[in-house]
């Protein structure tokens, strides 16, 4: 069971990585070939798209890289250590969900436009959070 849950987390993390790297690419690609007509562009043009000069997808990418490494690490460790890392993933993804919720709130009420990629990432991190919550509870129940 644990193997499968970690695989799900790992796979979701890969999707999140793909999304945030794609977004990061669109934020940094300098050559203006076209100006796109999309909610993403509206979001990107908003004052919330950068945090201290760093494009927001970079933070997303960092978070997913972190979970990616942790989730991979679990495959190499003993059960006991693996359980600790599952908790680390849970805390990581909790922070991710909180930030994503705030960003989605900004999209809805401040920017008035949605970026499909950003929303997808919010869904992915929420799923990671839910699955790892399930995993941690399962591990706790097993060790009790």
């Amino acid at each position: 069971m644990g193997i499968y849950l970690n695989r799900i987390i790992f796979f979701l993390t890969l999707s999140g990585l793909a999304i945030s790297f794609y977004l990061l690419y669109t934020y940094t690609a300098s050559s203006p070939i076209v100006c796109l007509n999309s909610g993403c562009e509206t979001v990107r043009a908003s004052p919330y798209a950068y945090f201290f000069g760093v494009p927001l997808p970079a933070f997303g990418a960092l978070m997913y890289v972190g979970i990616f490494v942790l989730s991979f690490l679990r495959t190499t460790l003993s059960k006991n250590q693996s359980g600790k890392i599952a908790k680390a993933i849970l805390s990581f993804s909790f922070v991710g969900v909180a930030i994503s919720a705030y960003l989605t709130y900004l999209e809805a009420f401040k920017i008035h436009a949605y970026c499909l990629w950003c929303v997808s990432s919010a869904v992915v991190i929420s799923l990671i959070f839910l699955v790892s919550l399930f995993e941690v509870r399962r591990l706790d129940a097993n060790s009790a």
């Binding site: 890969l14 203006p32 076209v34 100006c35 796109l36 007509n37 990107r44 495959t75 436009a113």
Partner: protein, 213 residues
Amino acid sequence: MRIPRESLIFGGITLATIIVFFGIFLLSGQSSSKAPEAVDLVGDGSTMLGKKDASVALVEFGDYQCPACRAAEPVVKQVVREYKDRIKFVYRHYPLPSHRNAEPAAEAAEAAGEQGKFWEYHGLLYENQEDWSKQSNPRKIFEDYAKELNLNLDQFRQALDEHKFLDKIRSDKKAGDVAGISGTPTFFINQEKLTGGFGFDQFKQKLDQALAK
């Protein structure tokens, strides 16, 4: 050291995902390139240059605040210069929602057009894009351009105040939406969308093809 089986599986999944991801990325660049026949890309009362009854129309959907449109502008000028006796060039507005000053800029260009100086004003907007793009209210700069072109300032102001050309601009944008464009600039030669770079040679090749038909 023995690598756990699960680690190998994860490595495999990662590799497969990277391959799929790049595949999608490469394929996504190839989009369909025809507008539906029913869409009138030239439109009624659109501003045009060149030969009015030409069989070949080059249509640009542009946004004055879009850096890519600005980048394409010198090439468009060159194309118009070389082909003006054989084609008509039509400029239609497609102000993107992410560019807050694009729609007012289009209104200003149309207001100048009312006084016969659309293309002069159009050129000024692109040349000086950086000066007005980020302004919270670009109105004063737009009026300065009107003065520079010796327009009747009262008439110009009135057209902007009354949003006289807003309907026209929005109907241009609607035509672009119906034609399925995804950004600016988008060029059509008759109904065919130009894809893959906007260098002079790309225009030349497609225009010569269309003219030979």
